[in-house]
């Protein structure tokens, strides 16, 4: 634990257990039942043939599980955090910033970790050959971004607010507007792929993917908040969303302190 990080943690009023960079937890918390959606979920048809039928087998966390790739320097380019400047012209739509912090469940910020996003354009259309619904593509929007969290675990993207779009799960099925997020964390065990939603989306009650998370409080953890504070005057509205990855296991190691 560096003095600097200690000071930062105390300033945040956050309890200090370990330094995610200097120390490696010997294990990560096992997550309670229902923390994540089930692999077999009736409302989402594609799960039917894509979930294991046999029970999962308990894997004790050993060295392969408590280490993990550090991809940030490999894949992140200088302007990858701004999805509105990747082409000659500006994309159509509501310009927004999406920012927040990546923490573990002890409230420790994860710095230097890779955050990747991809999304539909303002019309709800993805730049992907399999997306064929009749909404326009935007020649000035690809919809992918990457960044690395700073010393406070903070990430920030500038983008266009994605539109909702129909899909084939059931009659008149629509996905609420969302941005896909991929988090590497610091260990294989912390890996997370999820989706960030926007507050008050009218499609929430009808979307089986959103509702596959059964606990309403857990669902709320996927919804960003509008932030007038972070809004850039005359430029971009702001949404804020913090992300929590698994923290160290129940047997913390305090030896180093």
């Amino acid at each position: 634990m560096t003095e600097e990080l200690q000071a930062e943690s105390e300033a945040d009023g956050v309890r200090t257990i370990y330094d995610p960079i200097a120390d490696t937890p010997t294990s990560y918390l096992r997550e309670p039942e229902g923390a994540h959606p089930p692999l077999d979920f009736e409302g989402y048809k594609s799960t039917a043939l894509r979930h294991p039928k046999q029970p999962l087998i308990y894997l004790p966390q050993m060295i392969t599980e408590i280490t993990g790739p550090q991809l940030a320097p490999v894949v992140v380019g200088e302007s990858d955090h701004d999805l509105t400047i990747q082409h000659d012209g500006e994309p159509i739509g509501e310009r927004i910033t999406v920012s927040g912090r990546v923490f573990d469940t002890e409230g420790k910020p994860l710095r230097g970790t890779l955050v990747e996003v991809w999304q539909a354009n303002a019309a709800g259309r993805y730049l992907h050959r399999w997306d064929r619904w009749p909404a326009p593509l935007d020649p000035n929007f690809s919809g992918a971004g990457r960044c690395i969290t700073d010393d406070e675990g903070r990430y920030q993207f500038t983008t266009i607010k994605p539109g909702p779009y129909p899909w084939g799960n059931h009659y008149n099925a629509w996905r609420p507007a969302h941005i896909h997020f991929s988090l590497m964390g610091r260990a294989f065990t912390q890996r997370l792929v999820t989706q960030m939603y926007f507050p008050g989306d009218p499609f929430f009650p009808y979307d089986p993917i959103f509702n596959s998370v059964r606990d309403p409080k857990a669902r709320e953890r996927m919804v960003s908040s509008f932030s007038i504070h972070d809004t850039v005057p005359n430029w971009a509205a702001a949404y804020e969303w913090d992300i929590y990855l698994r923290g160290p296991g129940a047997t913390p190691f305090e030896e180093a302190h």
Binding site: R15, I21, T24, L29, E31, A35, H36, P37, L39, Y44, S46, T47, A48, L49, R50, H51, P52, K53, Q54, L56, I57, L59, P60, M62, I63, T64, E65, T67, G68, P69, L71, T105, E106, V117, W118, Y126, H128, W130, D131, S142, G143, G145, R146, H180, S182, R186, L192, V193, I209, F210, S212, V213, K217, A218, R219, R221, I243, Y244, L245, R246
Partner: protein
């Protein structure tokens, strides 16, 4: 624990917009001495290849060293060793092909316990609300596999689903989500 984790959601069908990168399938740089291919196909419950999967792997090098900064036994000495592969295509056909080196044995949980050479695997796809985790072991490591503490918890008749078989330039292993040869998946 003070906070709850953010729940997982499916990677969806369009991850190819944002996740693949040029050297993703390369755990080691092309031309690394001793490099091998690990290939295979991922099948759904109807026995049909899953075209829109994203596969990620994480492993040690032949000396049991990792690429990360945590420094367990020191960082790998293989130049450019990432220990990680990411494989997924906009227009996939259900198969994968990663370039890597065979990992070495690793310490297990108890004093003197060793794990057989293995690679940790995550599979993501449309229709998977959370990643599925499995491991690749090597069929020609008979002795090490017999002493492996993870395989020990896998029913004998299902262990073969985790064993990659030798090929002319490496190994091959298929992952099956359902059926009589359903792959063993783990709760990590």
């Amino acid at each position: 624990m003070i906070f709850q984790t953010t729940p997982s959601q499916t990677v969806g069908p369009y991850f190819a917009i944002g996740l693949p990168f040029d050297v993703g399938p390369f755990v080691v740089p092309e031309g690394t001495p001793g490099a091998i291919h690990i290939t295979g196909t991922i099948y759904d419950g109807a026995g049909v290849p899953i075209p829109d999967f994203l596969l990620e792997t994480w492993q040690a090098d032949p000396d049991g060293r990792f690429a990360d900064m945590h420094g367990h036994g020191g960082v790998s000495e293989i130049p450019g060793f990432r220990g990680f592969a990411r494989y997924g295509l906009e227009d996939g056909d259900g198969t994968f092909d990663i370039v890597t080196v065979k990992p070495g044995a690793l310490p297990g949980l108890g004093e003197g316990q060793m794990q057989a050479p293995h690679i940790d695997v995550s599979v993501f796809a449309r229709g998977m609300l959370h990643r599925t985790v499995t491991r690749i072991y090597f069929a020609d490591e008979t002795e090490a596999n017999a002493a492996d503490p993870v395989l020990a918890h896998v029913p004998v008749e299902r262990r073969r689903t985790l064993l990659a078989q030798p090929t002319s330039d490496g190994y091959t292993i298929d992952f099956r989500f359902q059926g009589p040869d359903e792959t063993v998946f783990f709760d990590v």
